[in-house]
Symmetry: C2
Subunit: 527 residues, 2 copies
């Protein structure tokens, strides 16, 4: 069922000579299928096809797009155990996670289906003519969101389903009316191909134009680079490292026609432990955080990599319990030998910095590719002065910073790079005494959490997954939730356009019964 070939629209294709296999980190062996990297010719074919498909796909009704998205969800479910087993064999992640992530992916697709079927998401605005206005009559103006064109989506190593082939970027782009070319992640190329086959089936079943979706294999960075540079590509979605995301952003910025790149990149997700909370609940928060740090072997972009508190018995207590608890947790497998190697290197680099004290680590032998979770501490002054300690260690590692006082804590927060999340751990009525801390933290993050953990990203309209650079390349957008569709659309105005030639969203009669801003008032009424 997995061929190792590229999907160029509905055609399986393998013209190239570069091949690779995926790897099972649990058994520490390569998987069987041989994947063939896409050639420049195949890239060109996929983008040309996407560009042609766009001409039709952009005009397809919300109802039909919804059917497409729902059918993708159905077809993914129909892959059943084949998908789950392939997922597990390419990631080392357990069955529960595979099914959970599949559920999330299906949920996202159905959410966008609902959104575009209902239709109000296009933000229709109508300002009728005022022929009697003086000194000049006012023209009739109507505006709505329209798709920008073919989008390239990069698969993410840590979410083979939810942020990859049919993940949030693809679902939102297709929902908006943009064709998608996926640059498949080499670590889970089989999972990617299976999901691509589901999307292809759904496209055929629901009568979508050929080329609305393509899936290109790649083992290195060249396929992605070629795609981002292609003049017919109009936007990019990426989830991964700062280095990778920034490289794509720079490439896109150098194009003759620069295009938007939404890259969700690294984050160390600072957690601030306020003193009273440490006084009363140090032990329970330490237990909670031992779990959060090791969840999914720490391979989440929202993993809490930085914990900050004021020097106190409470903080010492927290660190002690965290150290005890974290080594009780069974070491888990990482996604790939490469990821494991980078984790080990970055962790060792952090541990070897001046004044960094390792408080707990799994120091017994573990199986190949299994992560030895680690907690270390450092004083605030050292942290502030050493930028290396601000870098993400992707995996189950967290650094606890012991600050001298509130001023030092605020200074540290003010000097952090942009983050996806920030968390405040507080007793009742405590946080209001730390306005400066809360404001400074808020300024550096996309989402602020009260008495919780940053891991876990709900797919709801009020989720913001993104944040100031380098958490994401454009803090004005989210990668998760219905508003993520805004990344792929532009507003478009019609002036004095005849009613019968307007898209349904803007017709006088409001045939789609959507919410529109008419004369500055939200209404579903016809004109």
């Amino acid at each position: 069922m997995i061929t190792g070939k590229n999907y160029i629209g509905n055609t399986l294709s393998a013209k190239g000579n570069t091949t690779y296999k995926t790897f099972n980190p649990k058994t520490n062996t390569a998987n069987e299928t041989v994947f063939t990297e896409a050639t420049s010719e195949e890239i060109q074919e996929a983008v040309d096809l996407a560009s042609e498909a766009f001409k039709i796909f952009r005009t397809i009704s919300g109802t039909k797009k919804a059917a497409f998205l729902n059918t993708i969800a159905d077809e993914i479910l129909a892959l059943d155990n084949t998908l789950v087993q392939t997922y597990m064999s390419e990631t080392g992640l357990p069955e529960g996670r595979a099914k959970g992530e599949r559920g999330r992916t299906i949920g996202q697709l159905r959410t966008f289906a609902k959104l575009v079927e209902e239709g109000s998401w296009v933000e229709a605005r109508i300002d009728p003519a005022q022929p009697d206005r003086t000194p000049n009559p006012r023209v009739d103006l109507r505006k709505m969101s329209v798709p920008i064109g073919p989008i390239v989506v990069f698969g993410a190593s840590n979410f083979p389903l939810a942020y990859s082939t049919a993940g949030g970027d693809t679902a939102s782009a297709l929902a908006s009316g943009c064709p998608v070319v996926v640059k498949s992640h080499p670590m889970h190329a089989g999972t990617g191909e299976l999901v691509a086959s589901a999307i292809q089936k759904a496209a055929e079943k629901t009568g979508m134009p050929n080329g609305v979706f393509s899936n290109l294999n790649s083992s290195g960075i060249e396929v992605g680079q070629e795609l981002v540079k292609h003049p017919k590509v109009k936007g990019v979605g990426f989830t991964g490292s700062i280095r990778g995301g920034r490289a794509l952003l720079d490439l896109a910025a150098k194009r003759k026609e620069p295009i938007p790149v939404f890259a969700e990149m690294g984050s160390i997700n600072p957690v601030v432990l306020l003193p009273k909370a440490l006084e009363t609940k140090a032990v329970s928060w330490a237990k909670t955080y031992a779990s959060s740090i090791t969840l999914g072997t720490g391979q989440f972009c929202t993993n809490p990599g930085l914990i900050l508190g004021l020097k106190s018995d409470g903080l010492t207590n927290f660190i002690g319990t965290l150290a005890e608890e974290i080594v009780q947790i069974k070491p888990q497998c990482m996604l790939h030998p490469n990821i494991h190697a980078v984790y080990s290197n970055n962790k060792a680099k952090a541990q070897s910095q001046k004044n960094v004290e390792t408080k707990a680590t799994i120091d017994t032998a573990v199986a190949e590719n299994y992560a030895q979770q680690t907690v270390a501490t450092v004083d605030g002054k050292t942290f502030l002065e050493n930028a290396t300690l601000h870098e993400e260690v992707f995996g189950p590692f967290s650094l606890v910073v012991q600050c001298e006082n509130v001023a030092e804590l605020e200074t540290i927060l003010a000097n952090l790079e942009g983050q996806l999340t920030g968390t405040i751990i507080s007793e009742e009525n405590e946080a209001s005494n730390y306005n400066g801390v809360v404001k400074t933290l808020s300024d550096r993050v996309g989402r602020i959490i009260f008495n919780g953990v940053p891991t876990g990203v709900e797919v709801v309209p009020s989720m913001l997954h993104g944040g100031p650079y380098p958490a994401s390349t454009d803090s004005r957008f989210t990668a998760v939730g219905r508003d993520s569709i805004k990344r792929w659309v532009r507003p478009f105005s019609y002036q004095d356009w005849p009613n019968e030639l307007l898209p349904d969203e803007l017709k006088n009669e409001n045939p789609l019964n959507i919410l529109r801003l008419v004369n500055d008032q939200e209404t579903k009424e016809a004109l």
Copy 2:
């Protein structure tokens, strides 16, 4: 009243040695006031002050921001004749235009005041907790737009009021809660200083933090470059040439922390004349376009610089009338000798291209700085092959392209760069026979007009002023209308945040009575 100094917050400052004067193009003489360019030190002071002011300004209520914006409008009106005379002396534009643009500027400020006073613009979304959800309870999530930080606004040569010191960029940024540092346009530095003084007065009267606004003089490009590179600057608004806008975009993209640049740049605003419309109304459309081409001496970004039709008697008739009419119009003064020189050069360059035929031009002597309006024609094949002819000639010049057939017309449209506007001139029931033409044109523009002229940009919610690159640097935003505020905000999420610590926009009680998306439903109800 005009000092020639910079406003660093509420302080007049002139530490530099570089000075310059503005120029009256009508009298062809320099104006009196000596302006002092801002130094690096003054730039630093202005940005530091803006960054400090942001800490307070970002938390100021919509009602108070509205009072600030309305008071700016009042103070601009209070400048009365001083402003009008200064405007005229620095632009050569007539009194009616000065007053009209002032009215537009006032209207924009009051529109944003109304928007932020009402408050729903923040797109509040609330997804309450679901403690009983299985397998995991759902957290409470709430999201709203928050300002991104200090914004640099570049004054525009052709709109000293509406797109400059207190123009659309400044009004929308201040409305969003972002402090503004204006890089004043050297051609109308006096007008800029007067308006800056009005903003300062308004800031003081309404108790805004010092530094919420600064106005920096500059005669060259260095002040602007330093501002865009400054780490504390978080966004840029620009109206001007492609070269200038692209340079700023590139600078911003190279920063350690890239920032959004919204530049509204060049456009030739293609107009398509359909055959039946030419058959029946060639003469009246030619008269209308003679006016549109010369309106404001052609110094509008929406000036129709390119007119396309199918070779026919109707088109010949149109060209003939346009040629007759355009030379009947009295030549007008351009904004500045430099702008006049660029117009003359670019026009001569276009006229000298192979197969370009000048159909009409003012060939009698005109006063210094007055533009000699010109209409030329070329065949479709030549136009398609010669990129020079696709370049904007800023001023009263238009090129009529005579296409062989519909296929050639579509090919030309498909190969145009991105445009602010596109126009279709059609008889009743004619446009529906040219779906390909309309779709291809739509793909290249931000606003499409039916039987009208592109000049005239209404300030209404449904206006899109922007478009595919290089009409603007990010087609996903508009420079005009209430949605232009979206350029300066980012969504921000609160997770499980205590109700009493939430901003009013997200509190259970909905104390501001704004429209919010609660559980996926638009409502003003409390929770």
